[in-house]
Symmetry: C2
Subunit: 717 residues, 2 copies
């Protein structure tokens, strides 16, 4: 590790300098980096991209947890198959398996309504509201600062959502420096127009997940509808296609290695501008500790499941989720170590601070920066406590239920807007259904073993890092713990569905008077949970107050380096640009930037997930690729790889060529890039896209819909 | 599958035409293909390679189950670390772990004697003896033909080995057409001179096995010694280094992609010239059936091992061997399907037969060829029976032991030279030790379950494909089988070590009179086993007699195509040539032909098998590669990849450049090439070699031995 770090340190330093393609830019920042965009190959005017509420960026929409884009003036939207999967599933029934067979709507009447909770949001407003958010917070600190920001945000959102048909939210850029009110038109009648079979849309499934080379046709085409008056409406046969403010144009040419590409979408969260100490915490403590703790829980479930098959089945979903978490955390850790992220960020921050000390504004910023550092350093004292206590209410079934019932009983008497997030009226249905699910997910022996695994670790924390309430409930020694768990789980009646249903519906007073040992334990733990929550909010309040100084220093330092700074991702619309790029993944291993249909045949085993449909295999064999094939090789493309800067939430993001035409849909990243939420390493960060030539070929030759191609404005061949 | 086959059929046809690099040539064939060798880039005179008993090929020796080569005039030999592993292990003891630490002999006195059964053989004679082998066989058929060839071979070997210090054997080329007497000088005092640590020599171990890119320094240097009189001798401090008839010269330059390379070694067995029906049998029946049967046995052991940990441990070795077999067979099957081998061979054979029908010699050859085809077709009737009955005596422990004791009792009364191979005097020690091993490898419940798995399958064979003796012992229904096994295993005393020892030593009459139910069963099965053996030998006899006609037709047909034919591999010295070649393993995946030390660092986890030693990591970090680095990239090479034609037995084979200098040691093939024992597919067949620059750098800079470099005739840098 040490050696690797020392070797790669130099390489990374070089790499960072050369890295022009990192960045999830606010559209308003693009005119400021126009030169970079031009140099990279963009042929349009960056000014045209500056307003995300105007064409072409207002064609890019939030849809079903991912990103989509309008591609016709009658509301056609392309997104990923996996982003529209719920819609496909909702329309499948015995005798009409759209997952297996895909779907081609014969005409408008054949377009199938999505599940009623499926939403598409068009961003129509993006206004800076920093002063309005911070006016009441100024002068406050800690929890008071947090609450002031929270209240101001909620008030702005409530006012904005007063206008019918809109969803609003407040987003902060640069961690508390700037605040924006995002206003989105919410469309509720979305219909399925065209979906490939699962064995095309999700070819390779879990095995190929995070992998390149990839061979999935991960796209689906939907259409947005509005009421006869043009307003958002629930599904009705009387609705008519939505006419979007703008739409993207499909390219008729494809991409080749080295070509300029750009992408717009709604990336969820990144940590690129976190402090060096936070990088170190993530790599040196949080990721390895999380992996170790979750691995211990995995071992518990696997061991118990071996002896008791029924228990094994009950915990299958939790086990799968633990494994996914472990895989992801391990991948992130591996990637951050490979990129030597801790040292790179440390050296970068040290250089910034040294430079800052020489600057006139340094003196003003330094106290807040010092305070950020101190606050983050203090986090170390309780981080393991908070991790373990947090897991108590996520990695248990019955205890989690009891904690929820207890907390609900103290939130319910409050006015709804003052109830804690997660315990408001609109959350109650979810809590009820989770209490119901316990019936098929809980086994007392497994839960006791899981709690034992977490609490034995907890018991080893120093006194100052423990909570008296937790000690009181679970004891201070392994023997105490075993006795407490035996007593609680032998005595509780909460394992019965009827009892949980009764308590969910019971009055706060009834819940408070209940003597069930598990409820008594939850009640005893509550003050500790509330204290942790209060500490978190207080800390977040102070970070919101102080971190802008750190960001200001960083922005100034980057400016001096000749670089702009994009805010970390926060689910707002961002633009990134780069190029079609192969991946030299390891010594002697190179992955080309384009895959071809030959790879579909190579991977095909006839068994899920490599069970390409016969019509596709027949069409590949027939080889009628005219108009779609790579002009140089004659091969029929499937997916392509770029160095575009993406993260979760970018699923379905349109990938555009230098002329702004749609050439691909983003749908995944490579395994080596799992750590990109913290650091963009140009050697390894890649994004995986469906090639629009493959989509057009499927619509033209394999599961034909000439009308759809006509509406998309692309020729048949 | 079908589609894949149809697509790849055309590709393969093209590929076969372009394939100049296939071939495991007899040295005597090389002058005949001199033009090809020259065109490929060889700069020497192929005539110099024609006699394997003369320089330079007599520098290439058999050693420890693999291949080695002399590299100094004082008996230094290089081979693979894994070929010399037994020697390294033999010299390791508490406090001197040569496996972990490697070994550098300080001087001649420090060279450590190998395990006493370690042998090196120098080929000194290679004479065609076809007439002497076949004179008594001519006119005979079947078993008589087999026995005549067997007797003549044994007689020639006995005469040849009359000369002290030599080992002799008879090898047939082209399946019964030509016979050669191979005479080898056998050296018995081999010493360890230089071995890298296991974490270099076997870096990556099982995980990297069959994998490219590879980063192992799989080499070891030994020295052969002889008695003071120059004759082969057991180890003695008075022995002196052997002066080989010739030795190879280490290259001081390295290789680059596309460079000519050639290799000499002792490949074990290939099936390239088998008939189309045999290809079909292998792909359509033998490999899938073997995988299914072995997989069922694996499942039995794993299921039993779950319930009974002790039983699991007893069967760990057998389980590992089953898994290896399943992996290998599956890989071979996958490869042959990928190469569409059945169709390619079928079309090729059909074209040959069509051409033959137009030739004057066709009429003479056709009857024998028809007879070969008929004989092979008849094999179908009993192939599953023979497979299952064969497994009865390899995949059981106690039953195998009882069968051996029973058979030994009928062989012992015969003169030794008439006893069946495997039951001669020299085999008895092995049988005794196997009977001993049963003690820690046998569990009655597991053995019964294994026999049940095999025999339930057997019971479903049609009447004509079953053997009355097997039916009598194991019954005709699952219930009979269960009852028989319960009776036999409950009643046998053969599970006791003392009883097995007693019966091993007992007189044939005592064994014949023994009433132990397992011995009774073995005795009852014996006639069936002998009948299968007789059928096999009869069939082999006829194939030896008839197949030369098929080979003659094939050779003539290839001649017409302008191609020479090499005989299938049979552990005799062969030469192949080709070039340093990357591997386009799959769509969009390319593996470069050279790996570098950067890959060692990338793969290093600090944990076995990726736990590169600190001195190596330090040296890599230091970067002192002058004189060894790739002149173009400056990178320090580790291993390289070629399209050389190899198979098992080629481990340690010297890889030579166009000038005949040593540039690498063969040590593995890629996974995609497992099927190459049947078909050389130029798209996928690769061989993996240690780069001699890496070996020289390790000897120079990491674990230095200046004296060794001096003796190897290469400079220090």
């Amino acid at each position: 590790m040490r050696i690797r770090s020392m070797m790669l340190g130099a390489a990374m330093a070089l790499a960072l300098d050369a890295n022009a393609d990192e960045g999830m830019w606010l559209p308003s920042q693009l005119p400021g980096i126009a030169k970079n965009l031009k140099n990279a190959g963009f042929r349009g005017d960056p000014k045209d991209l500056a307003d995300l509420t105007r064409a072409p960026l207002n064609a890019v929409v939030r849809i079903g947890g991912g990103t989509g884009s309008f591609v016709s003036d009658e509301g056609l939207v392309v997104t990923n198959h996996h982003v529209a999967f719920g819609v496909i599933q909702y329309n499948s029934k015995p005798g009409r398996d759209l997952i297996a067979n895909g779907y081609v709507a014969a005409d408008r009447a054949g377009e199938l309504p999505a599940n009623p909770d499926y939403r598409l949001r068009v961003t129509v407003g993006f206004d800076k509201v920093t002063d309005r958010i911070l006016s009441a917070a100024r002068g406050k600190t800690g929890r008071a600062y947090f609450d002031a920001v929270d209240a101001a945000s909620k008030a702005l959102v409530a006012a904005c959502e007063g206008e019918k048909g809109y969803k609003c939210s407040v987003a902060t850029m640069f961690y508390g420096r700037d605040f924006y009110l995002v206003k989105q038109l919410e469309l509720r009648d979305i219909r399925l127009v065209y979906a490939p079979p699962r064995a095309i849309g999700n070819y390779g499934d879990e095995i190929d997940n995070f992998m390149w080379p990839r061979h999935a046709g991960d796209f689906t085409i939907l259409r947005a509808y509005v009421g006869p008056n043009g307003e958002p409406a629930d599904y009705s046969p009387d609705n008519k296609p939505y006419r979007p403010p703008s739409h993207l144009k499909l390219a008729t040419e494809g991409v080749a290695e080295g070509d300029f590409v750009m992408l717009a979408g709604y990336p969820g969260i990144t940590y690129r501008h976190r402090t060096a100490a936070e990088f170190a915490d993530q790599v040196e403590w949080r990721l390895p500790t999380s992996v170790a703790v979750l691995k211990a829980l995995q071992d518990v479930i696997e061991a118990k499941g071996k002896g008791d098959k029924e228990a094994g089945i009950r915990y299958a979903a939790q086990l799968q989720s633990l494994k996914n978490g472990i895989k992801r955390f391990s991948g992130e850790l591996e990637g951050l170590q490979r990129s030597d992220a801790v040292a790179v960020r440390r050296d970068d921050e040290a250089a910034m601070l040294a430079w800052l000390a020489t600057q006139p504004e340094g003196k003003a910023l330094q106290p807040d920066i010092d305070a950020v550092m101190a606050l983050i350093a203090r986090g170390k004292d309780v981080r393991e406590r908070d991790l373990l206590v947090g897991l108590l209410s996520t990695q248990t079934q019955l205890l989690k239920g009891a904690l929820a019932v207890d907390r609900l009983s103290v939130e319910r008497p409050k006015p709804d807007e003052q109830r804690e997030t997660g315990y408001q009226k609109r959350d109650e249905e979810l809590i009820r259904s989770q209490l119901k699910q316990i019936q098929r997910r809980y086994d007392p022996a497994v839960e006791k073993a899981l709690v034992t695994s977490m609490m034995l670790r907890y018991q080893q924390l120093p006194d100052a890092a423990r909570l008296p309430e937790v000690d009181a409930v679970f004891g201070r020694t392994p023997a105490d713990l075993a006795a407490a768990l035996d007593r609680i789980y032998a005595g509780t009646g909460f394992g019965a569905d009827a009892e949980r249903t009764r308590l969910f519906a019971a009055s706060p007073a009834d819940v408070a008077a209940n003597r069930d040992p598990l409820l008594v334990a939850a009640r005893a733990l509550r003050p500790a949970m509330l204290r942790i929550e209060d500490e978190r909010k207080s800390r977040e309040g102070d970070l919101l107050r102080l971190r802008p100084a750190y960001m200001q220093a960083l922005i100034a330092y980057r400016e001096k380096q000749g670089k702009a700074v994009y805010p970390d991702a926060n689910s707002t619309l961002r633009v990134s640009y780069g190029k079609v790029t192969p991946l030299a993944a390891r010594d002697a291993v190179t992955y080309a930037s384009l895959t071809t249909v030959a790879g579909i045949v190579e991977k095909n085993t006839g068994k899920e997930p490599f069970d390409a449909p016969k019509p596709l295999l027949d069409a590949i064999r027939k080889g009628d690729f005219a108009g779609y094939a790579d002009p140089k090789t004659g091969a029929m493309p499937v997916d392509f790889l770029s160095n575009l800067d993406t993260t979760g939430g970018n699923s379905g993001s349109p990938v555009l060529n230098a002329k702004g035409e749609l050439v691909g849909l983003n749908f995944d990243s490579n395994w080596e890039a799992v750590s990109a939420s913290w650091m963009y390493d140009p050697r390894y960060k890649r994004a995986i896209h469906v090639d629009m030539r493959y989509m057009r070929w499927l619509i033209d030759k394999v599961y034909p819909s000439p009308a759809l191609l006509r509406e998309l404005g692309v020729p048949r061949h």
